[in-house]
């Protein structure tokens, strides 16, 4: 099930809220939340819910053993936990990729098995790893109850699309949390904002992207490769630039919308998850971009890979090697395909350049360095979008009319003109503009008490309007993609 579905909005969530708030005891509420979470997960993955349960059980057990073990065997249990978690992730996510690459060697020909990726496995695996690692570091005590570990890993708010919530961040709230009207208000409003961002903006961007740059299903159809290349080579440069710009907007709006909804849902049920996006497209450097983009993943790799590898404390060469490892893994985490690795390493190059030379140069001029970030990130999304090198090549060349294609066509100009207002709205949604307007309006109403009534009416009306528009947008809309299946 996904948040942006009518079944979730009109049936699952209201039922969950009712069942959750009837009992007063936190234990009963946790049971309710756990049952709903497992049901949410099992809705699309009835068998794979067993993997979630088994991995949670294993990590609960390992953490328990780590805590109670002697100094020598703690590490063994920790290694075992990592092997089990990453082994499971590896089997489900990377086996086919591994075999495909092995088959490139001329004398090897292993038939690739058909393995369906359990939804959200990368998210909950990393969450469980943070739990075991934090227990190992003695930062948190091991959880006595398996159900609570399962609730932490399987909580439907963040289980399938993040953010990667650390156990330490919610440890106390699992057994003791309060929901007051402030939290409920913040939760509902945040959820409505995320829902509208997803169903109105991101889905519309996605439909345009699929139209201009082919849909995921068409791109993934190997039998259609030559047809796809022909099609993309025939696109005008304007269409390709537009398609990629809209993809850049879609991926932010969609992903941050899921995080908004997750944070909002968390607040409705008394959990406080950390922010996962902080307007990354307004960053001044790639280093800053990655501090604002998918923050929970960046923090995971920083705290559980980069720093344990030595971070920047072991000399320049080792720092570069550590960074390379982190960005190779960051790419690989996003999908079992070389284009994701290329995407990760592409950022590694820029981060390294910034670390070594550019950081001071680019900081001199705000416009220039923001433009630099936008351009670097923009081309990064080309690597992210196309898993086939030929398609990537066709798009990159086509953007500069190197396919023999035209710069403009009647259709692309028409489309561009038609969607300019929508494009501007999406761009604004990627900035803190609305937040700033809100602050200005609040100041204004504070100084002008007569306008207070309008401001209060807006405060009530806007979330309601967003909810209604979202439900309307989702009705009869066959285009409602879930982008995180490969994660």
């Amino acid at each position: 099930m996904v948040f942006s579905s009518l079944l979730f909005l009109l049936l699952f969530l209201p039922l969950n809220l009712i069942c959750y708030y009837i009992p007063k005891k936190i234990k009963t509420r946790n049971v309710v939340l756990l049952i709903f979470s497992l049901f949410f997960y099992a809705w699309g993955e009835p068998i794979y819910v067993l993997i979630l349960v088994s991995m949670s059980y294993a990590c609960w057990y390992f953490a328990f053993r780590i805590e109670s073990a002697s100094k020598g065997s703690r590490k063994k249990w920790m290694i075992l936990a990592v092997l089990v978690c990453l082994g499971t992730l590896g089997v489900f996510k990377y086996t086919v990729f591994f075999i495909q690459n092995l088959n490139l060697i001329s004398f090897i020909n292993i038939p690739a098995p058909q393995i369906q990726l359990p939804i959200g496995i990368s998210f909950y695996t990393f969450q469980l790893l943070t739990y075991v690692a934090d227990v190992y570091r003695r930062e948190v005590p091991a959880q006595r109850k398996f159900c609570n570990v399962l609730l932490y890993a399987g909580l439907y708010h963040q289980c399938i699309a993040g953010p990667i919530v650390r156990y330490g961040d919610v440890e106390k709230e699992i057994n003791s949390r309060k929901t007051d009207i402030d939290a409920l208000y913040d939760g509902f409003v945040r959820f409505c904002i995320g829902l509208a961002k997803k169903s109105v903006l991101a889905n519309s961007c996605g439909a345009l992207v699929d139209m201009l740059l082919l849909s995921d299903s068409a791109l993934n159809n190997a039998a259609q490769l030559s047809q796809n290349i022909d099609l993309l080579q025939g696109r005008s440069a304007l269409s390709l630039w537009m398609g990629m710009a809209l993809y850049m907007l879609q991926i932010y709006l969609d992903f941050s919308a899921y995080s908004d909804m997750a944070i909002g849902l968390g607040l409705m049920f008394g959990f406080h998850f950390k922010e996962n996006f902080q307007y990354p497209y307004t960053s001044d450097s790639i280093t800053e971009f990655w501090r604002r983009w998918h923050i929970s993943l960046g923090a995971f790799f920083r705290d559980y890979v980069y720093i344990p590898l030595g971070g920047n404390r072991k000399g320049k060469i080792r720092t570069i090697l550590n960074l390379f490892t982190v960005w190779f893994l960051t790419g690989l985490w996003h999908g079992a395909s070389w284009n994701y690795i290329l995407w990760g390493l592409y950022f590694f190059v820029f981060l390294l350049l910034e670390k070594l030379f550019l950081i001071n140069t680019v900081k001199r001029n705000k416009t220039v360095h923001r433009l630099y970030v936008i351009i670097v990130v923009f081309f990064g999304w080309v690597f992210f979008r196309f898993s086939q090198l030929d398609l990537m090549n066709a798009v990159l060349k086509g953007m500069f009319c190197a396919n023999g294609n035209s710069m403009l066509t009647y259709e692309s100009v028409h489309l561009a003109l038609r969607y300019i207002p929508f494009f501007i709205i999406c761009c604004i949604a990627c900035t803190p503009f609305a937040k700033k307007i809100n602050v200005i309006l609040s100041d204004f109403t504070r100084n002008n008490p007569r306008t207070q009534i309008y401001s209060q009416a807006l405060q009530i009306a806007i979330p309601c309007l967003l909810l209604i528009i979202s439900v309307i947008s989702l009705t009869g809309d066959t285009y409602n993609p879930f982008l995180y299946f490969q994660f």
Binding site: M1, S5, L6, L7, L9, L10, L11, L13, P14, W43, G44, E45, P46, I47, I181, D182, L184, Y185, F188, V189, C192, N203, S204, A207, L208, M211, S226, Q227, D230, G234, R235, S236, S239, G404, S406, T409, Y410, E411, S412, H414, L415, R418, Y419, F422, I425, Q456, Q459, I460, P463, C464, L467, I468, I469, I472, S473, T475, G476, D477, T478, Y479
Partner: protein, 443 residues
């Protein structure tokens, strides 16, 4: 009001809205079963099966049913269209037509004579058709006067003035496959039946104002049809109707609100077919005419402004005593007049008057003839308007819609002793591999 009260009111409002929507959504009696706008049956509640349950398919289908059949669906979609127009978010659902690179070759480099798996054909492809040779290419007269004031692209449709036009983009590989499929049928039926091939262009290249047409990057349909016809085996008789339709472009030969051709357009194609077959067509003046007004086709769904000027569906029935027997894809059988009475049907369904719409298998019998030849029309929906006219020169006209039919074309020809097989497809079909696959499956 205190901030806490505002927050409480906001949360309460959101809960009330959600509860109202939830209660309505759970009222099964309000859930629609069909969508008139989309002309389709909506998703039904899935039947339980163990395999569907464990694969997750069962749950996905429930989700689909829940959202697809939401109460007041059509009204909400209307509101949605309005909201999206205001917000400028009404993104197209499919098919952006733009090709700045396709070149349609005059002939294929190595065209397959028949489908790769079938090798009985020994003839060489590529001979130009008698009709192609005989006909000189008609020059499309440049339009003058007022240009359409309103021109825009919506999905794969161009809207110019009060009419829609469907884009076309050529795919050499798929075009080759289409020709190979027709050639294969012709080879298999050698000595038994004559195969005719008719490719119907979309209105874009026939009736669209030439000054608008030259700006639009839709591939040249005349060239594409000529390319396909050059791939056909010599014994396949080409019914090249492009120039015939050009000659009548100022007449009402295509609908404005729909992608189909009109009964009149089909009549000119019928006359052209008779010329190729060497028989006399019935004159237009001898045909009985019926009309159904208020027709709003697929283009009107894309651009609601077209709804202000609906089409009229005219049917032309040559002299004879025709009766149609239809068998739909669920094998239900029915019979009656060749034209279904659409007087009271909804605006979007009026094209369905021709042979009762898209049915898997139909037979038109001219009871006025004691004996006569039999013909098989292999078609998609464009063939519907042609069928009542084609029936005039035969005792029996068998019609199969290969998208729904489950039998074999060649077996049917042999079984019914059919002497002529007519392929009538619109040009969009010749770029759709999935449709060609369906055709191949029926050979």
């Amino acid at each position: 009001m205190k901030p806490k009260k505002i927050k409480l009111l906001t949360v309460a409002s959101l809960i009330v809205i959600t509860v109202v929507m939830s209660v309505l959504s759970m009222n099964l009696s309000l859930r629609p079963e069909e969508s008139e706008k989309e002309k389709r049956k909506l998703a039904s509640f899935p039947r339980f099966s163990v395999s569907a349950f464990f694969s997750g398919e069962y749950f996905n289908e429930i989700s689909l049913w829940f959202s697809d059949t939401i109460p007041f669906r059509e009204q909400i979609i209307d509101v949605n269209n309005g909201v999206q127009t205001i917000l400028g978010t009404n993104a197209p659902q499919r098919g952006f037509q733009e090709n700045t690179k396709n070149e349609i070759p005059d002939t294929a480099e190595q065209p397959p004579a028949t489908l790769p798996t079938i090798t009985e054909a020994s003839q060489q492809p590529g001979s130009p058709s008698e009709t192609s040779e005989l006909q000189t290419e008609a020059v499309i007269p440049s339009d003058a006067g007022e240009m359409p004031s309103h021109v825009e692209t919506i999905d794969s449709i161009l809207i110019a003035g009060n009419a829609g036009y469907e884009y076309y983009n050529f795919s050499e590989k798929v075009a080759n496959n289409y020709a190979a499929a027709v050639n294969t049928v012709s080879s298999r039926l050698a000595g038994k039946a004559t195969v005719y091939d008719m490719i119907v262009p979309t209105s874009m290249d026939i009736v669209l104002d030439t000054r608008v047409r030259e700006k639009v990057s839709s591939d040249d349909q005349r060239k594409a049809i000529s390319y396909i016809e050059n791939l056909l085996l010599p014994e396949v008789r080409r019914v090249s109707i492009f120039d015939t339709l050009i000659a009548h472009r100022s007449e009402y030969i295509y609908f404005r609100t729909d992608h189909h051709w009109s009964g009149l357009g089909a009549y000119y194609a019928y006359a052209q077919y008779c010329g190729v077959k060497g028989v006399q067509p019935y004159g237009l003046e001898s045909c009985a005419v019926q009309s159904f007004d208020g027709f709003l086709g697929t283009f009107a769904d894309k651009d609601p402004s077209l709804a202000s000027d609906p089409d009229v569906v005219y049917t032309f029935s040559p002299p004879g005593d025709y009766k149609i027997t239809i068998r739909d894809k669920k094998l239900n059988v029915d019979e009656g007049s060749v034209f279904y009475d659409e007087s009271n049907a909804s605006a979007s369904l009026k094209y369905g008057t021709f042979i009762w719409g898209d049915n898997a298998y139909s037979v038109i019998e001219d009871k006025a003839k004691a004996t006569g030849e039999s013909c098989l029309l292999v078609k998609e929906s464009f063939g519907n308007a042609l069928a009542p006219l084609l029936a005039a020169n035969y005792k029996y006209l068998y019609i199969i819609d290969y998208r729904h039919y489950s039998g074999s074309i060649c077996s049917l020809v042999e079984e019914k002793k059919i002497t002529d097989v007519v392929f009538c497809n619109n040009i969009s079909m010749t770029r759709s591999q999935s449709l060609i696959d369906q055709l191949i499956a029926r050979m």
